[in-house]
């Protein structure tokens, strides 16, 4: 794959590491988090066959974490956006 680093531009995937699904909310404080909620945060994933919002880091480059929207079947990358931004709307 060719991963579009928002800082360095498109680079070969070998320079990157995938951090998996993005925007998973970390529940706190610990005492108030149920086992179920913690399990949901830690492990439960929609794992869609289709568009996934995921985060990557340009580990062999600038070190920036960023989000992309990527199709998990075709591997087409539809959007790149900042790590703390909301995913853009995709045109159908």
């Amino acid at each position: 794959m060719l991963i579009p680093c928002p800082f360095c531009g498109p680079r070969d995937m070998s320079e990157f590491r995938c951090g998996g699904q993005s925007a998973i909310v970390r529940p706190v404080p610990a005492q108030q988090v149920s086992d179920e909620a913690w399990s949901n945060y830690m492990f439960m994933r929609p794992n869609p066959r289709g568009v996934l919002a995921e985060r990557w880091v340009h580990q062999g480059g600038c070190g920036t974490w960023f989000n992309i929207l990527r199709n998990t079947v075709s591997h087409e990358i539809m959007a790149v956006y900042a790590i703390d931004a909301a995913p853009p709307e995709l045109k159908p």
């Binding site: 794959m1 070969d12 995937m13 070998s14 590491r17 995938c18 998996g20 699904q21 086992d35 179920e36 913690w38 399990s39 949901n40 830690m42 492990f43 439960m44 994933r45 929609p46 794992n47 869609p48 066959r49 996934l52 995921e54 990527r70 998990t72 079947v73 075709s74 591997h75």
Partner: protein, 416 residues
């Protein structure tokens, strides 16, 4: 069922090979079954077979979206072994290897289980300490496990470079009962066996939706071939587990990733045992046809694409020629990928789901093939008795809430 034997091959051959019967039927689905198994891979077909064989439950359908054995069953590198560290895993994989050993005769179908043994090599002192740790525990559990010295590694793997600048071999771990089998034959053998006992194997049948009653219990599935009623569904769809779970209304702790596999052109025998390196993660064996069948790391990102990226391919092939420099001019014939269910502790998920009537068998990661007989046997037991077998009990979905993991890689650096 038409019984297979050398005599039968001779007789049919003399008669022009015109009387071979279908290995399994292709029936139209009935409106209702006692049990519907979704997924015609090894695990699903084995579940159907053992339901009929062990529990006399024969009103069973196996629904397969494409062709049976077409997922990871027909894409893996066919290694069967039981070198595990935790008692829970040992019980599971020993059960599987026990069933595998008698499977050809039981199914009257030669799955070519070749117990040629496995050698793992240690390349650092940490590797050696880990292997000593494995061997102690395995031997205590009666699993065959031997620590071998460099000379013995060399004897079993004459082409392996042991004095490598980066990958020096300090010693090895061997398991005699480990081996390989013909992957397609495992699916076909179970299919033929299950079909003979009355199971309907329905190919090109895609499940589109689950129908539930007011209590939330499944009552039927909607498919491209119509609605099929049932009280009990077993989901056995490695690679697509999350997709069907979603359709049934819940999430799984599963990520789908690609595992690549490789085969070289056929060669005369050059490798008589299975090789697994702790340093590079490479595993390789030679198929009976002569190809070097090998693999290594996962492509670490979500994918249902059944194809991997070049960086991992390059790393795996590079590791092969680094361990075995005499294979440099051997040529790669084919490279492919399978979608595997990756879960946090790399152990399977067997048993109940949040949806009543729906059981699941998934999460085998990169090692599902070796567990096919046990996976099927245990799921059949669960369906028939309503309870997980004691071997399967520790592998329930609930461990992701309790934190009671069985993590071989974390505990002992053992790959699945």
């Amino acid at each position: 069922m038409q019984r297979y034997s050398g005599w039968r091959v001779l007789r049919e051959g003399l008669a022009g090979n015109r009387n071979w019967q279908p290995a399994w039927r292709s029936p139209s689905p009935k409106p209702r079954y006692d049990v519907v198994i979704i997924g015609g891979g090894g695990h699903g077909l084995a579940t159907a077979y053992y339901l009929a064989k062990n529990h006399n439950i024969t009103n069973v359908a196996v629904l397969e979206r494409g062709w049976i054995g077409g997922g990871n069953t027909g894409r893996n590198t066919t290694v069967i072994r039981s070198n595990y560290f935790y008692p829970e895993s040992i019980a599971l994989f020993q059960h599987s290897i026990d069933l595998y050993e008698n499977l050809s005769k039981e199914l009257n179908y030669n799955i070519m289980f070749s117990q040629r043994g496995l050698v793992s090599t240690g390349h650092t002192r940490h590797d050696m300490e880990l292997m000593a740790r494995w061997a102690g525990v395995m031997q205590a559990h009666g699993v065959d496990a031997d620590l071998i010295d460099v000379a013995e590694v060399k004897r079993r793997l004459p082409r392996l470079v042991t004095e490598h600048v980066h990958l020096p071999v300090l010693g090895g771990f061997a398991q005699k009962r480990a081996g390989t089998a013909r992957h397609d034959a495992v699916a076909w053998g179970y299919a033929r066996g299950a079909d003979a006992l009355g199971v309907d194997i329905i190919q090109n049948c895609e499940v589109q939706a689950f129908v539930k009653n007011s209590a939330g219990r499944v009552t039927s599935v909607k498919t491209n071939l119509g609605e099929i009623g049932t009280d009990t569904i077993v989901l056995s769809v490695a690679g697509n587990s999350s997709v069907l779970a979603k359709a049934a209304g819940f999430d799984l702790p599963v990520t789908s990733m690609t595992l690549q596999a490789f085969v070289s052109e056929p060669l005369k025998p050059v490798l008589d045992t299975i090789f697994l390196s702790l340093a590079t993660g490479l595993y390789v064996s030679q198929s009976d046809k002569g190809g070097l069948v090998f693999g290594g790391g996962l492509d670490i990102y979500n994918s249902y694409g059944q194809r991997g990226g070049f960086p991992v391919a390059q790393q795996v092939i590079g590791a092969l020629t680094e361990h075995f420099p005499s294979f440099g001019r051997v040529r790669l014939l084919r490279q492919w990928g399978g979608t595997v269910d990756i879960v946090h502790d790399s152990s399977p998920i067997l048993g109940h789901t949040p949806v009543p009537g729906l059981l699941i068998n998934c999460g085998w990661g990169t090692g599902g093939f070796k567990a096919i007989p046990a996976g099927g046997w245990l799921m059949a037991y669960h369906v028939a008795t309503g309870q997980p077998h004691q071997i399967a009990a520790p592998f329930g979905l609930s461990r992701f809430e309790t934190g009671r993991f069985i993590d071989e890689a974390a505990g002992a650096g053992i790959a699945h």
